[in-house]
Subunit: 151 residues, 2 copies
DNA sequence: GATGAAAAAGAGGCCTG
DNA sequence: CAGGCCTCTTTTTCATC
């Protein structure tokens, strides 16, 4: 991964491209070129550059978790002693159903998002976590908003 | 949006396709077809069907928020009286920097994720929220994990 | 599975700072 | 002169039958 001071090197055209590809990750170069008012090849050059510099990480389809059998989603906050961070890392590696994990300031050290096929499935994962730190689990009723980063 | 009992109608091939496209959202049909061991046209048919049934919602590039000038990310938990949900909806509509919002069980009613250009930017958004309910704000040090939903 | 259409990748030259 | 862009050509991928 080529490191770059990111933001500073980007001009308005780059930013427009980022917003476009964020909104439609499967847009063709021709479409992207049209929305940012550039030739197809210039668009391709910029897109590759953004990818190579890690500004654009990867591309994903957003999927209804129910389709894969996950009927439950939970937010787990976790308070851990710093000496146990390694154990957390190990759990994260072994539990792909922990789809998101942020290290944060404040009362909790970590905030995680977990998908599960049912309560017993969830309980199995959370019990593993609670061996390392103290946790609070909230079930998700509804994903109200989930949108790209704005310009 | 065409509604479907989702999960029940999917076979293993569909699930494999979902995982593939989730991991590489820009993969060509040929690539997808190869990974799921199917002809290109059959792959296309299945993909369209998944899209039309809303199993696959949309495609996005994942972007380094810093590239768009957002140096800060925060998790905000919010406790609101049910009669004020409309006000929350209004704020969500007017604040695109709230990139994620989940309605949850437990002490908080909502958990949100906010991107901001700096502390004063963040403060402006959170102060708006705190007019509607009581909030707790945690800053994000690090995104430890952010991965697709597993099979 | 074959065919015409579309998109992506590559090559070379032009314009501007 | 370098960097970025454009146009033209070839190869790959897509869609329809």
């Amino acid at each position: 991964m080529t490191n770059t001071p990111a933001a500073s090197l980007l001009d308005d055209v780059d930013r427009a491209l980022i917003v476009a590809i964020q909104t439609d990750g499967r847009a063709t170069l021709a479409k992207l070129a049209e929305t940012i008012q550039l030739s197809v090849s210039a668009t391709r050059t910029r897109l590759r550059s953004l990818e190579e510099h890690g500004v654009i990480g990867d591309y994903r389809a957003r999927v209804e978790p129910e389709a894969l059998g996950y009927t439950l989603r939970a937010i787990v906050r976790m308070k851990v002693h710093g000496s146990l961070y390694d154990k957390v890392t190990a759990i994260l590696a072994s539990q792909p159903q922990i789809v998101r994990c942020l290290r944060v300031t404040g009362e909790s050290c970590y905030v995680m998002e977990i998908v599960a096929t049912g309560m017993s499935d969830l309980e199995q994962i959370t019990s593993e976590l609670s061996r390392v730190g103290s946790i609070t689990t909230d079930l998700v009723y509804e994903m109200v908003v989930d949108r790209p980063i704005p310009l």
